[in-house]
Symmetry: D2
Subunit: 92 residues, 4 copies
Amino acid sequence: MAHTIKEKAKLLARVRRIRGQAEAVERALEAELGCGDILMLVASMRGAINGLTAELIEDHIRHHVVNPDADPDADRARGAAELIDVVRTYLK
Amino acid sequence: MAHTIKEKAKLLARVRRIRGQAEAVERALEAELGCGDILMLVASMRGAINGLTAELIEDHIRHHVVNPDADPDADRARGAAELIDVVRTYLK
Amino acid sequence: MAHTIKEKAKLLARVRRIRGQAEAVERALEAELGCGDILMLVASMRGAINGLTAELIEDHIRHHVVNPDADPDADRARGAAELIDVVRTYLK
Amino acid sequence: MAHTIKEKAKLLARVRRIRGQAEAVERALEAELGCGDILMLVASMRGAINGLTAELIEDHIRHHVVNPDADPDADRARGAAELIDVVRTYLK
């Protein structure tokens, strides 16, 4: 995991944002905010988790399977690039 | 929101568990655990968010739309019960 | 189900579009198109199913639970309108 | 696409099942079945699409990126196997 310092910092920033969103939902429940507002907070937390997941999978492909920008085998590099596109489409 | 003390306690327990899962992902990233392990932690956090969402929507239906166990209109009560089943199916 | 003629026509148009998308995926597999292209067809079929689901749930709420535009109880009407917004957010 | 005759046959069987499910939803709408029943048909069609997607992505990884059962580089083979596990977890 955490393949470059920059990637690690980005992933940590994402997960800390999700923790902050969970804390906001907790405060909203304690303050008995409206259901609709709480559900919108939870929906945005779910979106953030999808974004984190897509980035983790992309980093995994690049560092532990095939890096599309560096692999000497052009077919394999293209296959990995397509795979990253698919992951982004499904988790956006 | 938070329609009965018991429901509020259950929702708070769910969201605190999600916050704890976010903290576990953060520690796993800092400790540079394997990608596969981190992705499994994130997948279980996503499952917990789906569970929280389903419970919030169900509580919203019961308290702000139609309570299937108490509505005097039998058709409407059945419609609300079916709706709760559908929400559970889609978010399980 | 199928609460007004207009709604029924819209739902049928959506499901026929999904059937057409399944047929396009079938032809693409038979013609041995690239994986990336086939996965994009499948992703758009999944989006169409989410749209159909959201419309079915919205129609169900309007006709079998509470119609937010016609219910005499203002709180319940607002609760149903919020619920429809949530369903759209989660399935868009 | 369609990397072996056996895989192609399995994918075609999956997509034909999805087309059949779309036809069943169409008939159910025309016959004005209950909303709850129609939504359950649509939910099972969505499950079938997730299964097709997972299989397409897995076949893509095996044939166009890295085959975990045949790659001479053990680290890369393990990375690809973990990736396939993650895809199955997210799309099951």
